[in-house]
Amino acid sequence: MNSMISVSNFYFNYLRSDLVLKNVNIEIEKGSFTVIIGPSGAGKTTLCKAMTGIVPFYSGGDYAGEIRVLGESTKGKKVSDLAMKVGLMLEDYESQLVSLTAGEEVAFSLLNHGFPPEEAEERTRLALEDVGLPGRESYQLDELSGGQRQRLALASLLAVHPEIIVLDEPVSAMDPDGGESLYKLLDKIHKEHGTTFIVVEHRLEFVLPYMTDLIAVKNGEIAAQGHCEDVVPQIYEDEELRPLLPDLWQVRSNLEKKTMHQFKLWRSADEAVKELQSKGFGRGVRA
């Protein structure tokens, strides 16, 4: 199965609200690292919740269309059961922490799903190791820093071995170092476990080296979607979405337009400098 999540002709509004999502059609490929961008209020968070069954079956509202996760419709599924396949970390990750200690927190969903205590303990240990918190099972949550608690929330997702992880603005409250470090960790998990990632992110410079696919949401509709190489020119043409692209890609698109040259989709400033120099642009260009 190549499509992990398939959203077809999906419309949604919350109770007593206007349409939040309109005619959304998305295919998330297995093993992809998809980033969702869009202006504030475009419907990104709702889209994340829809992919995890929270919208509309937990939140309530009116909907049309269908969402399939790993080939199965989310209709009639309990959110807790879907969470075994697709994990969600909200922007306010603190609201997802419910236990007193790190070990209890990671084991919580496992024990609630009937995993034997020995297996829950082993999975907890491995998940904490994966997120760089080895041996912290007995730590009280208030003994962990904000960044560590965020890693703990991630460990709670990893422990159930979901095939898909959805993160809503995971670095919005982090400094640049913390943001880079978290995305490095996600990349490691992506490569080691082959997990499919879907991330809502405003600051694309953090995900530049890792993202494979891009979805742009505007006014509840999908404005562009596909592999980064294919959709960046389309997004650049949209004046409202253009500022959401990282500076590097805006420079690239601008150069392509003005020089008629084609450039690779640069993932770092170094890569950009190398290509520009190799094509004879600005000999003095430095990263």
């Binding site: 609200s17 968070t45 909907y63």
Partner: protein, 201 residues
């Protein structure tokens, strides 16, 4: 709980919107227990610290379960359970001649509130701004009426004392409680159901 509704183009901004399926929020689960427990706890604390002004003290416990019943619209059996627990919580701090009367009175109050809320919903007035005031007042009046009537029986007071001395005081407390229920209902609703419609999209 699902039902398919045809939402006309004029109601929605997009005139190609297909027929939409309506889904009720399925987040209740045991959430109502948490909401009830939290409001009861607040009610008990306020009940303990509220001063008596001119012989009248608001009954915070009744106001709190009126808010809970307006918020969660429970089935009758659950409302009776809420009333029973409310009665139990009032017994330890009761200074009346017959503390157990609280159980009967709160059972009546919660039942009244539940039936009234159901009636308002049936008349499509569930979201009417004054519903919390009316249900808060009525449940307090019925609860207080039952409690004072039990007292009248236990103490062997004349009927006139109950009608002309006790019921007017109950009515005043009822109005006070109605105002409290009215005033607190919307902020509490906003807190507990923040994601309904008005959330960050």
């Amino acid at each position: 709980m699902e039902e398919t509704v045809n939402i006309h183009a004029s109601e929605k901004e997009c005139n190609t919107t297909p027929a939409m399926t309506h889904v009720e929020a399925n987040q209740e689960g045991y959430r109502w227990v948490a909401i009830t427990a939290m409001l009861f706890a607040i009610g008990i604390i306020l009940h303990t610290v509220s001063p008596n002004v001119g012989g009248v003290t608001p009954n915070w416990t009744i106001a709190m379960y009126s808010i809970v019943i307006n918020l969660t619209r429970p089935p009758l059996k659950r409302a009776i359970g809420i009333g029973f627990v409310a009665g139990l919580t009032l017994i330890p701090s009761s200074k009346s001649a017959f503390p157990l009367g609280n159980i009967a009175s709160e059972l009546s109050g919660a039942t009244t509130c539940c039936l009234l809320v159901k009636a308002f919903v049936a008349c499509h007035m569930g979201d009417w701004r004054l519903t919390p005031f009316i249900t808060g007042f009525a449940s307090t009046f019925v609860s207080g009426g039952v409690f004072t009537f039990i007292l009248k029986l236990v103490l062997g007071l004349p009927l006139k004392v109950w009608i002309f001395a006790m019921l007017p005081v109950v009515a005043v407390v009822g109005v006070l409680n109605g105002l409290i229920t009215f005033g607190l209902f919307r902020p509490v609703k906003k807190l507990f159901y923040a994601q309904e419609g008005g959330e960050d999209k």
